[in-house]
């Protein structure tokens, strides 16, 4: 049985039936022990998806419809307070900005400890010992002396490790990491990703990793979901995505990875940008930027159709498959 099952999730800005959507009809499943990478440009709805699942959307953004089933229970059913009970216990999240995601005037030991005490019911001593274990687990040297450190006394990488320790404190079933390495420099990025992968493999939790770095996807993912303008463009296992990308958007994303042998050529880009919220085209949302667009693309949203056992694509002509070399669109 899948650990996380998201069904027809739609998130909108504002109230009323005509409120523009930032996520539309998103469905997917994620098994325990699996890593799902969610990719897409800025504005594609990746972070919105994470916040919607966490129940952390802030006014005026709200979940309009759809269910989120975690380990067999619909977490949307019990309302905001039941959802809050789930957070930090069944599902937790690591944010993009380690510099600002920790409380600047609270010692890191306390920021980990409060989860243990308030959510796990541990006593102060047990919580302290467990906090040291967690800091050791995220490979922070001299863990016990770091408990008393304030965030500003730690580097960005160290802070992100603390964030991971906080997120792991209550041993969640699902961990969502929203671009956890974007703000870090390259060598630290690799360390943090290694750490996340080790912990994920060891604990067997489900990991949803949001990234716009396809290198990270290749390293980490079992499954990949490509979001475009709030809709799922393509969903497949990682080999399929890299070997046989079938949505023109996925192809364009892959084509825009700079490679060493591209020499001094201009970098490949996707012309145009993601349409703004409320300015979505009627049909396929990628149509205005798609090199293979035909008239029928503009008539209605293409369904997310099965293309193979491990691949679903929302495109009317998914077989317009272009190999990497020819992929300069």
């Amino acid at each position: 049985m899948s650990m996380l099952k998201v069904e027809n999730l739609t998130t909108v800005v504002g109230s009323g039936v005509s409120a523009p959507s930032v996520l539309e009809d998103v469905s997917f499943t994620l098994d325990a022990g699996e890593v799902l990478c969610v990719v897409g440009e800025s504005g594609s709805g990746k972070s919105m998806l994470a916040l919607t699942i966490m129940g952390l959307l802030g006014f005026p953004v709200r979940r309009a419809s759809g269910r989120i089933i975690l380990d067999g229970d619909d977490i949307t059913a019990g309302g905001a307070s039941a959802w809050r009970q789930r957070r930090g216990r069944d599902l937790s999240m690591i944010f993009q900005e380690p510099m600002t995601s920790l409380n600047p005037i609270m010692r890191v030991g306390e920021q980990i400890g409060e989860v243990l005490r308030m959510r796990k019911g541990m006593g102060a001593d047990t919580a302290r010992r467990r906090a040291i274990e967690l800091l050791e687990r995220v490979e922070i040297p001299a863990a016990s002396s770091r408990l008393a450190a304030f965030p500003h006394e730690l580097s960005g990488g160290m802070r992100q490790r603390v964030m991971i320790a906080v997120a792991l404190a209550a041993e969640p079933k699902l961990l969502i990491a929203d671009e956890p390495t974007t703000a870090l420099d390259v060598t630290i990025q690799a360390q943090i990703l290694d750490l996340l992968r080790d912990i994920q493999a060891e604990s067997g939790m489900a990991l949803m990793l949001i990234t716009h770095d396809l290198g990270v996807v290749a390293e980490m993912a079992h499954k990949v979901m490509v979001l475009y303008a709030g809709r799922v463009a393509e969903m497949a296992d990682v080999e399929t995505v890299f070997d046989a990308p079938s949505h023109p958007y996925t192809q364009a994303l892959l084509a825009s990875i700079p490679s060493l042998d591209s020499g001094g050529d201009r970098l490949v880009t996707i012309p145009g940008s993601v349409p703004g919220v409320g300015l979505m085209p009627k049909g396929c949302r990628f149509a205005p930027r798609c090199p293979h667009v035909k008239d029928d693309c503009r008539s209605g949203p293409p369904p997310l159709a099965m293309l193979g056992p491990a691949q679903r694509v929302a495109c009317l002509r998914p077989f317009g498959y272009v190999r990497r070399e020819e992929g300069r669109v």
């Binding site: 966490m54 995601s101 920790l102 005037i105 409060e114 959510r119 906080v166």
Partner: protein
């Protein structure tokens, strides 16, 4: 932390020097002959000379200044012309009441203001927010002397619940003491409650939108705990700054409120000094209030460093 304390202490010295200079200069700045107020038609030139000598006005200004600093440093603020007692003891005698009044008002203002501002911030844009903020604006706009008179009319004259003025020492009659402090405290606090409430609201709104508040929310902590444990401490810096300013303003307003409620505090002493041109009292009172003000701000600065560990580094 010790270095920080030391640096702050040293920075107080030049301010004190300047303030005492200004206190000294009062006698020159206020127009008219300082002796005029104490003399009448029957005064002889000898009387004038004696008074000038008593005030030290017969010596060259620089000598006067040196003498003034010498006396201030040894704690001698001179002799009140009217009361005929040392200025220092006149002030010290009345200081506890003024400090008590200001402290009570400060506690009330900070307590109520922070609570109201936090409440409004967490309900941003709702009718509750708007009502609280309208009340705060109203409180901010009411002149204290007028509010004091209004309270006297309602609670003393009409309802007869509380005395309209006068001071009852705590040890003589605790209940009477409490009753005598209620109206002055409220009068003094209302303006500042409005001020602190508005400040707290905007500081909290800033904090609420910060990433670490979302992190706290992602831990599944309760809403109230997040506001009190993560939100408020981070909003405390601007609130503290305002509290320091207010503490000074309260000492100033106390002058008016003591007058309205006939309380024998430092404020009334200074007003009496001004009205009767009792220069030593004016000088001493001014210097004293400034020193208290500086001390309050020193405490505020130390509190900054206690609340926010990053301050100690600067």
């Amino acid at each position: 932390m010790r270095d920080y304390l030391l640096r702050r202490l040293i920075s107080v010295v030049p301010v004190l020097f300047l303030v005492s200079l200004m206190s000294f200069a009062v006698i020159w700045i206020i127009p008219g002959d300082p002796t005029a107020a104490f003399l009448d038609a029957s005064s002889t030139p000898e009387d004038v000379a004696r008074l000038r000598e008593m005030l030290g006005l017969d010596k060259p200004p620089l000598v006067q200044m040196a003498e003034w600093y010498g006396r201030v440093l040894t704690g001698d603020l001179g002799q009140s012309i009217l009361l005929r007692i040392p200025v220092l003891s006149a002030i010290l005698e009345r200081l506890p009441l003024t400090l008590l009044l200001a402290t009570l008002a400060l506690i009330l203002a900070v307590g109520l203001g922070v609570a109201a501002g936090t409440f409004a911030a967490t309900r941003r844009g709702t009718w509750a927010d708007q009502s609280v903020m309208s009340l705060a604006l109203l409180g901010l706009s009411v002149p204290d002397f007028w509010l004091g008179l209004l309270l006297i009319v309602v609670f003393s004259v009409q309802l007869g619940w509380l005395p309209s003025g006068g001071y009852v020492p705590l040890l003589d009659d605790p209940l009477g003491w409490a009753k005598s402090m209620v109206l002055p405290t409220i009068t003094l606090a209302v303006v500042q409650v409005g001020f602190i409430a508005r400040m707290t609201r905007s500081a909290m709104l800033d904090v609420i939108s910060q990433d670490f508040m979302r992190t706290a929310d992602s831990k599944g902590l309760s809403g109230l705990y997040i506001i009190l444990r993560h939100g408020l401490p981070n909003a405390m810096m601007p609130i503290l700054t305002v509290t320091g300013i207010i503490a000074g303003a309260l000492l100033g307003s106390a002058v008016v409120v003591e007058q309205v409620f006939a309380l024998p505090g430092v404020g009334r002493l200074i007003i009496g000094g001004i009205l009767s041109r009792d220069y030593p009292i004016i000088q001493g009172g001014l210097l004293f209030l400034t020193v208290i003000y500086l001390l309050i701000n020193l405490v505020v600065d130390l509190l900054y460093a206690t609340i926010d560990p990053r301050v100690r580094l600067e």
